[in-house]
């Protein structure tokens, strides 16, 4: 067992580059590349450091091609990194020692490991044999997973007769029969309807509570991350942009808050007055007779709110943090343009 103060996952200076064949479009170029292949180096992960403590659920965020899956594959032993040091439960993942593989699992939302044509329970039996789970333990765990995932009779049917969501639930059960201590989940809810996403999410949470398994998850759905992960790691262009709690991400990358005021209907136009009170044209989103919407820097929020409250007859006032999706969009848009944030945050891995 890993002791509590020692991180379960420790990554230092992880880099992974791919050699990608490159050719121009068209038949001539295609024929040419039969004999002479030109390759280009693509940097998937450009040096990241991170540690994850036992029992944490960490969300891995980033747009497509950010390097999330590559990192997950290195951590689960599928890829050799180009350079860097990685330890998972003290093991070097890509040496794939049996003791390591026995204690972790990788679940990919886009791919199935269970056999298409045979009943789910028989595929489970194969996993039982491969992981050498003793029969009585297997039975206990299976009934536990069947209950937690609400599988019921599904496990007697072949995978091909199941819906996408049911299939995913079975994937989860099959991948957890050996009770892994580390879970790598790559887009586990992709393509599922909202209800099923919520179920899977609830399951991950309960599994973590019950077993204390350390979980690293990537997802495109912010709802997954908001519900499950207190801590998030944002990567973009293979670099670590942010590592910390979810609320910190918002205050860090979105320096604005939204203020919405509902007013008593006024006789005259209040536009001029509002402009005067706010003091900056650019902070004003819209001014109507009964509603004013502003986007104000965090530090100015209190001042602006006070001035407006004293000068106008306000019925209702709401100060909001922007939605997390918007923040993420903002982060990626900003870094795509300038790359400044990336530089700034590598100096300060909070």
């Amino acid at each position: 067992m890993t002791s509590h103060d020692e991180p379960v996952i420790a990554v230092r200076g992880l880099r992974k580059t791919y050699q990608v064949p490159e050719r121009e479009g068209g038949l001539r170029a295609a024929t040419g590349s039969l004999f002479r292949r030109r390759t280009r180096e693509v940097i998937a992960v450009a040096g990241i450091d991170l540690t994850v403590a036992s029992g944490e659920i960490v969300g891995f965020l980033g747009p497509n091609g950010a390097g999330k899956t590559t990192t997950l594959k290195v951590l689960s032993g599928l890829l050799h990194p180009t350079s860097g040091e990685v330890r998972v439960m003290g093991y070097v993942p890509w040496e794939r020692p049996s003791a390591f593989l026995r204690r972790m699992t990788l679940i990919m939302g886009q791919r199935n490991q269970l056999s298409w044509d045979i009943p789910v329970i028989d595929s489970f039996e194969l996993n039982r044999a491969i992981f050498q789970v003793p029969r009585d333990e297997y039975r206990t765990r299976l009934s536990e997973l069947v209950e937690l995932l609400d599988l019921g009779d599904l496990i007697r049917k072949p995978i091909r007769n199941l819906s996408l969501g049911e299939r995913m639930k079975c994937e989860f059960a099959g991948s957890l029969l050996h009770r892994p201590e580390v879970l790598f989940l790559d887009e586990p809810t992709i393509g599922l309807d909202v209800t099923m996403q919520r179920r899977i999410r609830g399951f991950i949470e309960r599994y973590n509570e019950r077993t204390g398994a350390t979980t690293l998850l990537t997802s495109h759905y912010m709802a997954d991350v908001e519900a499950l992960c207190r801590r998030v790691i944002v990567i973009h262009h293979g670099r670590l942009l942010y590592d910390g709690d979810l609320s910190g991400l918002v205050s860090r990358f979105s320096p604005y808050k939204t203020i919405v005021l509902d007013l008593e209907p006024a006789e005259d136009s209040i536009e001029g007055l509002v402009h005067e009170l706010v003091g900056n044209e650019r902070w004003i989103v819209s001014v109507g007779q009964e509603r004013v919407t502003l986007r104000v820097p965090r530090s100015e929020t209190t001042g602006v709110t006070t001035r407006l409250l004293t000068a106008l007859s306000v019925i209702d006032l709401v100060v909001e943090e922007p939605a997390i999706d918007e923040v993420i969009d903002l982060v990626f848009a900003t870094t795509a343009e300038s790359g400044e944030l990336a530089e700034a945050s590598t100096d300060d891995p909070s």
Partner: protein, 265 residues
């Protein structure tokens, strides 16, 4: 030793799962039965036609050729039952990225991919081949002593090992070339040539069937050892070659895995 027992256990389980899958489609059994029987009868008829004209074919008697067809069908059944379907799935796994799952399991990945799919109905070939072989042996009776029987067993296992390693090497090429399903089809047609002793073919084809696509080692050479026509040096050479193939394919497999990066980066 424990590892070997475990792998045998996994093979048996894989066979059972294959059986479960296959039993859903019972019609396939009858199709396979008809197909195998027709194949066998055609092969035997071919031999009968030849021996209507002569009583020796490149030094082989009719019963010896029956034994050869028995081994051809038996080994073909083994290849078609486990090796070829598993290798097809391996190549598919490289292309689609599902090989990832085999690599995250605490068992030897080579063993897992080599037994991952079993086409149970091909046992029909194994049974028919073994039956024909037994009949041929009983007719050859007095010519076969215990030494020949042991040599036959050894060389047959060595031959199957050579074919397995050869197909694993072919399938492992998918790590570099990604799409090459046809390569197994080409092997399939080369294997068909094994229903005759390689000695009857012109030298270039004989060399091809021995050294490039090593079909001769799995069919002609075992039967030669059965009828006591095999030189001891060839026997030792075959065993050494099998060991070499096994080690070589293992190395290439390891190299391929190192190269494998999954379908999506």
């Amino acid at each position: 030793m424990r590892a070997v027992l475990r792998d045998v256990g996994l093979l048996w389980l894989s066979f059972r799962l294959g059986a479960l899958d296959a039993l859903q489609y019972r019609a396939d059994f009858f199709v396979q039965l008809v197909q195998s029987s027709v194949g066998l009868v055609t092969a035997l008829a071919g031999v009968a036609v030849v021996f209507g004209q002569t009583d020796r074919l490149a030094g082989w008697s009719q019963d010896e050729l029956f034994a050869l067809i028995g081994v051809f069908t038996l080994v073909g059944g083994l290849i078609g039952m486990v090796i070829r379907p598993s290798m097809e799935r391996l190549m598919e796994g490289v292309r689609l990225g599902t090989l990832d799952f085999a690599l995250t399991k605490p068992a030897d990945a080579q063993v897992l991919v080599s037994i991952q799919r079993v086409d149970v109905w091909r046992t029909v070939d194994v049974v028919l081949g073994a039956g024909l072989l037994l009949i041929a042996i009983s007719r050859l009776g007095q010519h076969i002593g215990p030494a020949q029987a042991i040599a036959f067993g050894l060389v047959l296992v060595a031959g199957v090992v050579i074919i397995y390693s050869f197909l694993l090497i072919l399938a492992t090429l998918a790590f570099w070339l990604v799409r090459l399903e046809n390569i197994l089809v080409i092997f399939g047609s080369m294997y068909e040539a094994g229903r005759w002793p390689v000695g009857i073919y012109p030298p270039w084809l004989r060399a091809t069937l021995t050294f490039i696509v090593p079909v001769a080692f799995a069919i002609t050479i075992p039967v030669e050892s059965l009828v006591g026509r095999l030189e001891p040096t060839t026997l030792v050479g075959t065993l050494l070659l099998a060991a070499g193939f096994l080690v070589g394919s293992r190395l290439i497999w390891k190299l391929g895995l190192r190269h494998y990066t999954g379908a999506s980066a």
